[in-house]
Amino acid sequence: MAHEETVYDALDHAHGGEGQWAFGTGFDDPLAGVDTTVPEGVHAADLGAYCLMLGDDALVLCQRLTEWATRAPELEEEVAIANCGLDLLGQARLLLARAGSCGVLGRSREHATDSIPDEDALAYFRDADEFVNHHLAEADGGDFAQTMVRLLVASTARLALFARLRESRDPVVSAIAAKGVPELTYHRDHAARWVLRLGDGTAESHRRAQAAVDAVWPLTADLFTATDVERRLVHQGVAVDPASTRDEVRDVLTMVVERATLTVPAWPADRPSPGRAGEHTDELAPLRATLQGLAREHPAATW
């Protein structure tokens, strides 16, 4: 007992007693003790693929947001962006763990050692063509205005989806969605207020906010066309057809952009999302290198 006087001793002990435990390593399974039985009549591979889509959007956008660490215009804003990223990372971990429980580890398991949890194998050991996030998440962050416009679009679309997914027939997806809704509400409000402030600010902030809106708008083309997986899961009561969120998403975005005294660009024609099919832009490669470099170089690293 004397050797476990502090929590760090206890954690170190729980992780092999090598004295290398540090905050941020050796995470437990985020679904520990959660019933991960796939509901009757639901195709496990489809459910896993769907969780991977929703998880990758969060994982990749989180990585983009954390690029602002040490670079944000003010300390409070840096903390805010990191907080949004942390929420998304939590959603990604839960969704990737759910995907793992449905057996969709793909090639990642061949690269990862057995001791690595499913969600880490999926995050760190998949190749670019196995990532299924929308291009909206991976697009380069641009300047601060573009980061906030992208966060506004991404959180508006995700909130509309998650609000409906609270009724999903998969209890794990439903619980993750219910937990995510209040988090995404904070992100959307935060991003919307910045877009207002920048758009209705100085001539320079207005110009850059408009450029950001113009740059991000085309990426909304990918958000509203269901994949085959989603279509099948909609029938099973598990997924939400993204087309059903289109009007709400466009209404919210239009309201914010108009209030910000900016011009709402023409909406792009909907198209099937290339990202959902594993086709990505060149912008994903450096992001993935930063995300995965350490884990691939030192697969069982602790520090």
Binding site: M1, E4, V7, A10, L11, A14, F23, G24, G26, F27, D28, P30, L31, A32, G33, V34, E76, E77, V79, A80, A82, N83, C84, L86, D87, L88, L89, G90, Q91, R93, L94, L159, A160, A163, P171, V172, S174, A175, I176, A178, K179, G180, V181, P182, E183, T185, Y186, R188, D189, H190, A192, R193, L196, E248, V252, M255, V256, R259
Partner: protein, 162 residues
């Protein structure tokens, strides 16, 4: 000898050490199944990085009290709400210099956009003034906002409603 529940109820939150996990509403259930103690906890936010520490603290405390076999399980539903923070917890937060949350918003249908300055209020935990302003909805941990008192000028943290 203390019961497993009594022991689990003494474990404090790693980020808000003035509060127990029970005060915070994170400790959902403690029961005994044969020789095994099964503890159920729920995360405050999806990305709460303190879950591993909470889990280890609970196991540690129960081991020290003589419960050898402890299983700590996660429950995600219903999602944690600041409404679950106990009255004692709210008092301890205020005494510790952190403003406790007001009632959490509840939305059945589409979630309304909030574009204006947040309307939430908080009393300064230093001087008791109600004249405080929000600096940022995000602070040192996911569950807190940053505010400043206009009367005594002290900045302080506020557990934000969720």
């Amino acid at each position: 000898m203390s019961t497993a529940l009594e022991v689990a109820q003494t474990v404090t939150d790693p980020e808000l050490p003035m509060l127990t996990l029970a005060d915070l509403g994170v400790l959902r259930d403690v029961r005994t199944e044969g020789e095994q103690v099964v503890v159920t906890i729920t995360p405050t936010y999806s990305g709460c990085p303190a879950m591993g520490v909470m889990r280890a603290d609970l196991v540690h405390a129960l081991h020290r009290a003589g419960f050898a076999d402890v299983d700590v399980r996660t429950v995600l539903s219903p999602p944690w709400s600041t409404d679950w923070i106990s009255e004692a917890g709210r008092r301890k937060l205020a005494e510790g210099g952190i403003a406790p949350p007001g009632p959490a918003p509840r939305h059945a249908g589409p979630i309304p956009l909030n574009l204006g300055p947040t309307r939430r209020t908080a009393t300064c935990p230093v001087c008791g003034s109600a004249d405080t302003e929000e600096l940022s909805e995000f602070s040192g941990t996911a569950c807190k906002a940053l505010r400043r008192c206009r009367t005594c000028r002290e900045p302080f943290e506020h557990v934000k409603e969720i």
